[in-house]
């Protein structure tokens, strides 16, 4: 069975690019572009890796992640955060609320692929352990 | 009407103004009495002269007009608290 990735992102061209990159590597890619219903989508899909954009309409990626980490089921879910606002405090905030990896747009395709592969293979995502402390 | 919080002694000018207002309020009463005065001689037997009665009424009338003009001139010179006329929207 192939591994599942859920991509939460609102920009159609970026969705298409990420989908192309990951599916070529053998992943099953689900996408969702509404921030408000993102948590439901995660609950429904139960992905192996979550790729989460920060600047979503309706709801920020930070809020979504905070909600997910509060659910025991997803406390250990590997999450790759993507943001177009690459400031220091964004990175710190992402780490604090339990993002597994943080990447700034524009990203290189191989980097993303690399990150997703790594997150899926790690037994316990390093960031999740930090978040649990 | 006037509240108990008003001061007992008023400045001379304010005092004069108050009495002026009193006069303006009493004037119509005075006028009414003067206009009724012919009752004393004209309503009895035989009545009175129309011409003389008319002249009397005319005299009272003009007196009232003059007094009213004098009073309202002084009263309207400076009326505190009167709102300025609103701008007329034509």
């Amino acid at each position: 069975m192939t591994k599942q990735v859920l991509l939460i992102e609102d920009e159609p061209n970026i969705i298409e690019a990420v989908r192309y990159i990951l599916s070529r590597d053998g992943w099953t890619v689900h996408t969702h572009s509404n921030g408000a219903t993102a948590v439901d989508a995660v609950t429904r899909r139960k992905p192996d890796v979550l790729v989460l954009d920060v600047m979503l309409p309706d709801r920020s990626g930070y809020d979504i992640l905070t909600d997910l980490r509060a659910m025991p089921e997803f406390a250990g879910l590997p999450v790759l955060m993507l943001t177009a606002r690459g400031q220091k405090q964004d990175r710190e905030l992402a780490a604090r609320i339990g993002a597994s990896r943080f990447m700034t747009k524009p990203f290189s395709n191989s980097e993303v692929l690399e990150a997703v592969r790594m997150l899926a293979e790690a037994e316990v995502p390093p960031a999740a352990g930090r978040a649990a402390q | 009407m006037s509240g108990g919080s008003e001061p007992l002694f008023l400045a001379r000018q304010t005092y004069r103004r108050r009495r002026l207002m009193d006069a303006a309020r009493i004037l119509p009463v005075v006028g009414a009495v003067l206009f009724l005065l012919p009752e004393l001689w004209a309503s009895g037997e035989g009545g009175a002269s129309t011409a003389r009665g008319g002249l009397y009424l005319l005299a009272v009338w003009i007196l009232l007009i003059v007094v009213a003009a004098a009073l309202s001139h002084r009263l309207s010179r400076r009326e505190p608290g009167a709102p300025p006329p609103p701008p007329d929207r034509g």
Binding site: D58, R85, S108, S110 | S43, T50
Partner: protein, 897 residues
């Protein structure tokens, strides 16, 4: 002898002259040249509508019959005027602060904005005014008859011809009144045309009467001394004063002077400045004195010169005619004619306002239920109902004239009407001077007085057996003796007039006082009562609205329908500014609601305005408990001083301003951070796509051709998006730093709008545009490219965001006092109130419509451009859909050269 046709021609010329005067005065007022239109003299002269044709002709007739008694009709008003400080000043102040439109409105407003009382007083006024108008028609037709061919002073005039004359006069007056009396809805916007015409008429009738008098005394009587002797030798040489009638008539005329609808209208409603009263206080008595100066001499000469049995009511006309002075007779005829016309015009305006505000509008509101305030144009309804009421009132007058046959029954009707309208006096005086007066008392008093007046005076005036059977006069109704119309409570032998006035006023006042003492006033009544009685202590306006129960936008919608869009928007904007806010939507504070209610009541009357606001507020804008609390609070505050209130208002204003300043500062610093990260986001997003796809294209050599092409397209589109964004940012920064050079030139709005529509043609497949090119032909001195850029932005926004199935954009252009406004109104869902203030900020896109393709800089750029052009752009709430108003400021003043 003057021919009848010449007379008609002169009359027509006179009426035409009045039209010209009225039209000219309106023009001046519109142009803002009020000047003498607002002088105390015009005000004083306008009061002369008290002297109707009845007094013009009838005073001499009365003097010929009962000597000096005629003068009582003038003495009452004289006393009221010289006592202005006590009563009239108060009425005028109340009328101004409460925006009173009529006697009925004053009483209704004072007693808790009662619809019932307003209606009752209106009926009273209508019943009292109708015969009075009939009387004027009769006077005019009778005076016509004097000149009619073949008919001497005493010859029987041809009835058909007289009726035709009356009909034409009534119709002509109706036209004049409708044209000049209903131009504006708000009675506080004064009828300059009508008032000026009346002032002219006042001069004409005074001049006419004085001319006849001078001719009689010096031309016929041989000087004052000889005149004195002539009076002493005449049939009316002895003055047998009837004390009761003397007092009664003086009182009655004084009461009527205040209560007559037309008098209240000129005294209070048309008053533009309180200080005018100070002048009128002595000048109007002088006018009355002059009007009565020659009455006795004319009567005496008439009695001696004219044959036995001549109608003394027409001496003013027939004496100059008999002396061969045709010109003078003509002048005198015009005097009588002008007395009649001015009275009818103002009476019709006053009564029609009452009927429309207190009978038609309440019924209409009830019929329309809650929909009244939100659908349909209330303005049109009010104006139409007022116009129809004018026609109706005049029509009633004519019908009454026809029914009464124009006979002698009419001669007494003047006093009968006085007695009728005087029934409003106790409620009016009590309401203004006594806080304890209640609605129950007022209703009881007015009803009782009205009933007694009807029974003892009005109905009997038609003659025994006409309405009330003769047997009832003899034995009373159902044989109840003490209810006989002319001998109430068994008191016989009194003068019928005096009898009626005495009983109706006594029972009226008694009912009013007892009713007031026994009942308990509602909270609204207590508030209004305190407000009216203590008007000079606190001119702060009525209370009673609990804020935050109403949506300001709904209020604006309603206000626009009543006051007209421009006026309502001005009011809301001013209020918002007073609260320290920008835009069109002030907080619905109590002060604001009260102010609004007063503004509305200037147009539709207090009770109706209150009901309309209540409808918006959900039917129960104010609960009784709320009101009681407010009432107690108010009573306490009132016992302090109004200063406290002013201070707290000042404090509130300052606090609001501080709060807003603080909000702005916080918002500004947040904005700065947000701006940077927004720019970062907006730039990085397209770059992400570009990078990702170009890497794909680089790394995957075996991509199918179709795929390649699609990816290349994405890269192309995204780089264009990037360019557009950079362009916008650059544009904005240039504008914000003031480095932009404007290419000003004179063009028309039509040309700019044409350009904007052409440029967006391809980009708006769905949107249809509605416009009125004729109104767009306004020359402006502006930068056409920049202005077109603003318009293009607004049009594209409408295409992008309008949610309607058939999106329609209305572009409405209007010329303003200094500049022009261009409104862009679509039929979509509009923009929620909370968002309205942020849409002009940078990067504020309302939703996730990336499809819209902009970075959210469009409106920010528009705002900057308009600022540079010396205009403004704002969101205009309450238009149904999304609406933007582009204001071109002083630009136009330069172009007007």
């Amino acid at each position: 002898m003057l021919s009848f046709n010449v007379l008609v021609a002169v009359c027509l010329a006179y009426v035409a002259a009045l039209f010209v005067v009225a039209w000219w005065a309106e023009r001046r007022a519109q142009a803002g040249h009020l000047g003498w239109l607002r002088s105390p003299w015009v005000y004083t002269l306008s009061l002369s509508i008290y002297c109707t044709a009845w007094t013009f002709y009838g005073a001499v007739g009365n003097a010929a019959r009962s000597g000096l008694e005629f003068v009582t009709i003038y003495l009452g008003p004289t006393l009221v005027m010289i006592g202005w400080w006590a009563l009239l000043r108060k009425l005028v102040r109340i009328g101004r602060t409460q925006r009173i439109t009529s006697v009925a409105d004053l009483i209704s407003s004072r007693y808790g904005k009662s619809t019932f009382l307003g209606g009752l007083v209106t009926v009273l006024a209508l019943v009292g005014t109708t015969p009075y108008i009939a009387l004027q028609l009769q006077s005019v037709t009778l005076s016509f008859a004097v000149f009619a061919p073949g008919a001497g002073a005493e010859g029987p005039p041809d009835p058909a011809r007289l009726q035709a004359t009356a009909l034409w006069v009534a119709a002509g007056l109706a036209v004049f009144t409708v044209v000049f009396g209903t131009r504006n809805l708000d009675v506080n916007e004064r009828h300059h045309g009508v008032v000026s015409a009346i002032a002219v008429e006042a001069v004409v009738k005074l001049f006419a009467l004085l001319a006849v008098g001078v001719f009689v005394v010096w031309g016929l009587g041989g000087g004052p001394r000889a005149m004195f002797d002539a009076i002493e030798a005449s049939p009316i040489a002895t003055w047998e004063m009837h004390g009761g009638r003397w007092v009664g008539l003086t009182f009655l005329s004084a009461a009527a002077f205040v209560c007559l609808p037309r008098m209240f209208h000129v005294l209070v409603v048309e008053n533009s400045d309180e200080r005018h009263l100070a002048t009128a206080a002595w000048a109007f008595p002088l006018y009355l004195c002059a009007m009565s100066l020659f009455v006795v001499p004319i009567a005496v000469i008439g009695l001696s010169m004219l044959p036995e049995g001549s109608n003394p009511d027409l001496f003013v006309l027939t004496v100059p005619l008999a002396a061969g002075q045709d010109g003078l007779a003509m002048l005198s005829f015009l005097g009588g004619f002008s007395s009649a016309t001015s009275m009818v015009i103002v009476a019709a305006i006053a009564v029609s306002t009452m009927v429309s505000n207190h009978i038609v509008m309440p019924i209409w509101l009830r019929v329309m239920q809650g929909g009244a305030t939100v659908s349909g144009d209330v303005r049109d309804v009010v104006l139409l109902s007022r116009r129809l009421s004018i026609a109706g009132v005049l029509c009633l007058g004519y019908v009454y004239y026809r029914l009464s046959g124009g006979g002698t029954a009419l001669a007494a009707i003047g006093l009968i009407a006085f007695a009728g309208v005087a029934q409003a006096l106790p409620a009016l005086l009590g309401g203004v001077f006594w806080r304890g007066a209640t609605r129950v008392g007022a209703g009881l008093g007015v009803s009782l007085g009205f009933a007694v007046w009807m029974w003892t005076l009005f109905l009997p005036s038609f003659g025994e057996g006409a309405v009330i059977p003769a047997a009832v006069f003899e034995n009373g109704p159902f044989g109840i003796g003490w209810l006989r119309p002319r001998a109430l409570f068994g008191i016989e032998g009194m003068d019928p007039m005096l009898h009626a006035v005495l009983w109706s006023m006594i029972l009226n006042a008694l009912g009013f006082v007892l009713g007031s003492l026994a009942s308990f006033p509602g909270p609204m009544e207590r508030l209004q009562g305190a407000e009216f009685v203590n008007i000079f202590r606190y001119s702060s306006g009525a209370r009673g609205w609990v804020p935050a129960m109403v949506e300001t936008e709904d209020l604006l919608m309603m206000a626009q329908r009543i006051l007209g869009p421009a006026e309502a928007q001005r009011l809301f904007q001013a209020q918002a500014r007073a609260q320290g806010k920008v835009g069109y939507l002030p907080d619905p504070t109590r002060e604001f609601l009260e102010r609004l209610e007063r503004e509305l009541s200037g147009s539709v009357g207090a009770a109706t305005a209150h009901a309309m606001l209540a409808q918006i507020g959900g039917g129960a804008a104010v609960s009784v408990e709320d009101l009681m609390r407010v009432a107690d609070e108010t009573a306490q505050i009132m016992e302090y001083s109004s200063q406290l209130e002013a201070k707290s208002a000042e404090l509130g204003r300052t606090a609001r301003k501080l709060r807003q300043a603080n909000e702005q500062l916080t918002a500004l610093s947040i904005q700065k951070d947000a701006f940077l990260s927004q720019i970062s986001h907006e730039l990085r997003t397209p770059m992400t796509s570009i990078r990702a796809f170009s890497e794909i294209l680089r790394d995957d050599a075996d991509l199918p051709e179709a795929e390649r092409r699609r990816f290349l397209n994405v890269i192309h589109d995204e780089s264009q998006r990037l360019t557009r964004l950079l362009d916008d940012l650059l544009d904005l920064s240039v504008l914000e730093n003031g480095q932009v050079t404007l290419n000003r030139q004179v063009t028309t709005l039509e040309a700019v709008i044409d350009r904007a529509l052409d440029a967006t043609q391809a980009r708006r497949p769905r949107l249809s545009v509605r416009r009125d090119p004729v109104r767009e032909r306004i020359a402006v001195d502006t930068d056409p490219d920049r202005l077109a850029q603003v318009f293009i932005n607004l049009i594209s926004n409408a295409e992008k965001y309008c949610t309607a199935a058939d999106p329609v954009l209305t572009i409405a252009v209007r010329r303003e006092a200094q500049g022009a406004v261009v409104d862009f109104i679509d039929n979509g869902a509009g923009i929620p109130e909370a968002q309205q203030t942020v849409i002009f900020e940078k990067f504020s896109r309302l939703s996730d419509t990336r499809a819209a393709g902009g970075a959210g800089l469009g409106l920010a750029i528009c705002r900057e451009i308009m600022g540079r052009l010396g205009g403004a752009i704002a969101y205009l709430p309450g238009q149904g859909g999304a609406a933007f108003r582009v204001t071109l400021g002083d630009v136009l003043a330069q172009a007007a050269e």
